[in-house]
């Protein structure tokens, strides 16, 4: 499966990340009768952040299911349903709530295929929102994707652009493995060009070079992709910045990162998750293992400095990594 391989048209439409996700859901619901969407307020309300808007009207209550507020039950039901012939798309409203559902995720969904010697399919997608920036405080703002990416048996994707959101969600739903689809809630309104062909998908495990440059590589995720692209524009003429949208956290596209590093010799990793024991460390380690002799400077990390996300706006702004932090990181090594 490669991007654009079987497309009948190269045409694109301009849309937001929210619209791209909604369109991906709509197309996959249309394409495959086994797909259903279940979660808290995904139907009548259209999702607490409006992502599933209009799906109930189009596909009905059988396929767009408002559930009780039962994350453990949702994760378990999704796992059991995926094992028995349907293709659930479960929404966990905020990724912080994955803590409530953790047992079914880590001990059932992730392990059943392996424990049973490969004799079961687990085509479940879990969509969830991440990220600070809207004053939602510590239990509705976390970026916890490292958790999921760390745990064997789960795949994790976290798009930074509308096109990546659509292509990756379609691949996630079509996958026979459990895939967690992390939506940063601050980029729902970001716009971009998105292929209109219904067969447009993006393979899980492939990063994308969003902007080519020779001096430094910024591997970014989610909100920090767009902010890093802005930084690259600002620095144009002084520093030639290459920006990669990582897109998939696991599997991780080491080749794209190392190829870029071989060209630039410098690496910044920008991801909103907490810094210790995390996504940044994994990328830095792989850069070291596979690209040690290309590194001209220490790898720089931009993330949340190991705090929770506080409520008060000045506090929240303080801890959330931003384009300015990416720029500082670049300036430290060029």
């Amino acid at each position: 499966m490669t991007a654009h391989a079987e497309l009948e048209t190269e045409a694109t439409d301009r849309m937001t990340v929210r619209e791209a996700i909604n369109q991906a859901l709509r197309e996959e619901l249309e394409r495959d009768e086994d797909v259903f969407v279940m979660g808290e307020d995904v139907g009548v309300m259209g999702g607490v952040l409006g992502v599933t808007d209009g799906l109930l009207e189009e596909f009905g209550e059988k396929r767009i299911v408002d559930s009780p507020i039962s994350e453990a039950g949702l994760a378990g039901l999704g796992t059991g349903a995926a094992a028995t012939g349907t293709r659930p798309v479960i929404e966990i409203m905020f990724s912080d709530f994955l803590g409530v559902a953790a047992e079914q995720i880590i001990n059932q969904m992730a392990k059943m295929r392996y424990m049973f010697g490969g004799k079961i399919e687990m085509p479940v997608t879990v969509r969830t929102t991440e990220g600070g920036g809207m004053g939602a405080a510590s239990q509705h703002s976390g970026t916890i994707h490292t958790w999921i990416a760390h745990f064997p048996g789960l795949k994790a994707v976290a798009p930074g652009t509308p096109a990546a959101a659509k292509g990756l969600l379609k691949s996630s739903i079509r996958s026979n493995d459990p895939v967690f689809f992390f939506e940063n809630k601050m980029i729902y309104e970001d716009s971009g060009e998105v292929p209109v062909d219904e067969e447009f998908t993006i393979p899980i495990g492939e990063a994308s070079v969003e902007r080519a440059g020779d001096d430094v590589t910024v591997v970014a995720t989610q909100r920090l992709v767009g902010e890093s692209l802005d930084v690259a524009d600002d620095l144009e003429g002084d520093v030639d910045v290459e920006v990669i949208d990582l897109r998939s956290l696991y599997p991780l596209d080491t080749d794209t990162i190392v190829s870029s590093l071989e060209k630039t010799g410098r690496l910044v990793v920008a991801d909103e998750s907490p810094l210790s024991y995390g996504t940044h460390a994994e990328i830095a380690t792989r850069a070291m293992e596979e690209g040690f002799f290309s590194l001209d400077a220490p790898v720089q990390r931009v993330g949340t400095p190991d705090t929770h996300i506080p409520f008060s706006p000045p506090l929240e702004e303080e801890v959330l990594p931003s384009g300015a932090d990416v720029e500082n990181a670049i300036n430290r090594i060029v």
């Binding site: 259903f36 059988k62 559930s67 009780p68 039962s70 453990a72 039950g73 994760a75 378990g76 039901l77 999704g78 796992t79 059991g80 349903a81 995926a82 094992a83 028995t84 012939g85 349907t86 659930p88 047992e103 079914q104 001990n107 059932q108 059943m112 295929r113 392996y114 424990m115 049973f116 010697g117 490969g118 004799k119 079961i120 399919e121 687990m122 064997p152 048996g153 795949k155 996958s175 026979n176 493995d177 899980i204 495990g205 696991y250 599997p251 991780l252």
Partner: protein, 348 residues
């Protein structure tokens, strides 16, 4: 395969055969574990045979079940092959899970057996998901979740029952109350006298039955299956039973007396009781029963011999079966283990 149809003499005899198979399989597994032959843990189902056989007897062959850490009885009642089960206990490639699961994770999805489960209370949400698939596709099946008296203290079980009750999902929950959650008696873990009282909270039918009587279990589950199949939603059945052995083989059982265990064995043994009932009805003779016992004992011994001789998995197989579409990381990291001439060091 002969089904466990309790309405027919042949079906009743099959029920007895499966109960005896469970008993002899687990008595043997216990011995081979104590010999050091079987690695890991073993949680024997001995004493509870009437629950698995009665409940599964009331199902259709393609119905789904989820099981527990004490799952051998559910597997054998569902018709799984003792030889492949024993091979799994021995960690052999011919086992149901190619040696990756062991006693606590035997599964055979094609037979509707969605897995034994090492997490107490994890089965009911999974069975609820299976019931959702059944309802979604309008299939003529039901799902049945076994869980213990310990399991029904878990929150996720209640989330699942509430969802099934709200959506009338075709599922039956069977709580095997074997009197102990690991080493703690049920009355120290629950405030209700009958665990089926929980059903009131969800406005679904709940029954407490004699789990030592295979016929009683069969009848209760048959009725619950009919209700589920008719679109009338879930039922919660508590089967009061007794675990003859400790929580696991090797448990010193300091929490109960020998007299208590012997009392249940003497007065309520599910196999002895049911056998006597069949003898009294002239459907079976004592000689036939002994013959059946010998046949099964021979088959179990053969399963052990086969398991001992069966090939172990190749170490490389540890890296298979993680995903439908493999993650390149796994082979990459595995290759690092073997980078130095393919050996991992002489001390291993």
């Amino acid at each position: 395969m002969v089904t466990i149809d309790m309405e027919q003499p042949e079906g009743r005899k099959e029920g007895l055969r499966r109960m005896l198979t469970i008993r002899l399989f687990d008595e043997t597994a216990e011995k081979r574990f104590l010999d050091g032959d079987i690695p890991g843990f073993v949680h024997p189902y001995i004493g509870e045979e009437a629950v698995a056989v009665g409940a599964i007897g009331a199902l259709e062959p393609d119905d789904y079940i989820t099981s527990t850490h004490r799952g051998h009885g559910h597997c054998l009642a569902k018709g799984l092959d003792p030889e492949r089960m024993m091979a799994e206990l021995y960690g052999k490639r011919e086992g149901y899970c190619k040696g990756k699961g062991g006693s606590m994770h035997i599964a055979d999805v094609d037979a509707g057996m969605l897995g034994a489960n090492g997490i107490v209370g994890a089965g009911p949400p999974l069975a609820t998901g299976a019931a959702f698939s059944i309802q979604y596709d309008d299939r003529d099946q039901v799902a049945l979740a076994f869980c213990g008296d310990g399991g029904i203290a878990q929150g996720q079980v209640h989330e699942a029952i509430n969802m099934a009750a709200t959506w009338d999902l075709p599922v039956v929950y069977v709580v095997e109350n074997n009197q102990y959650g690991e080493g703690t008696p049920v009355e120290k873990q629950h405030n209700v006298e009958n665990l089926s009282d929980t059903a009131h909270a969800y406005d679904i039918p709940g029954f407490t039955i004699d789990g030592m009587d295979v016929t009683a279990v069969y009848e209760a589950v048959a009725e619950a299956r009919d209700r589920a199949d008719a679109g009338d939603g879930p039922t919660l059945i508590e089967a009061k039973t007794y675990r003859y052995r400790g929580h696991f083989v090797g448990d010193e059982e300091e929490y109960r007396t020998d007299e208590e265990v012997e009392g249940w064995q003497r007065e309520d043994d599910p196999i002895e009781t049911f056998k006597q009932r069949l003898v009294d009805r002239d459907e079976l003779t004592d000689e036939e029963f002994e013959q059946l016992r010998e046949e099964i004992a021979t088959a179990v011994d053969e399963a052990v011999e086969h398991a001992r001789e069966a090939p172990t998995p190749e170490p490389d197989e540890a890296y298979e079966d993680m995903f439908a579409q493999p993650a390149p990381e796994i082979q990459h990291f595995a290759a690092q283990f073997r980078a130095d001439g393919g050996e991992r060091g002489d001390d291993r």
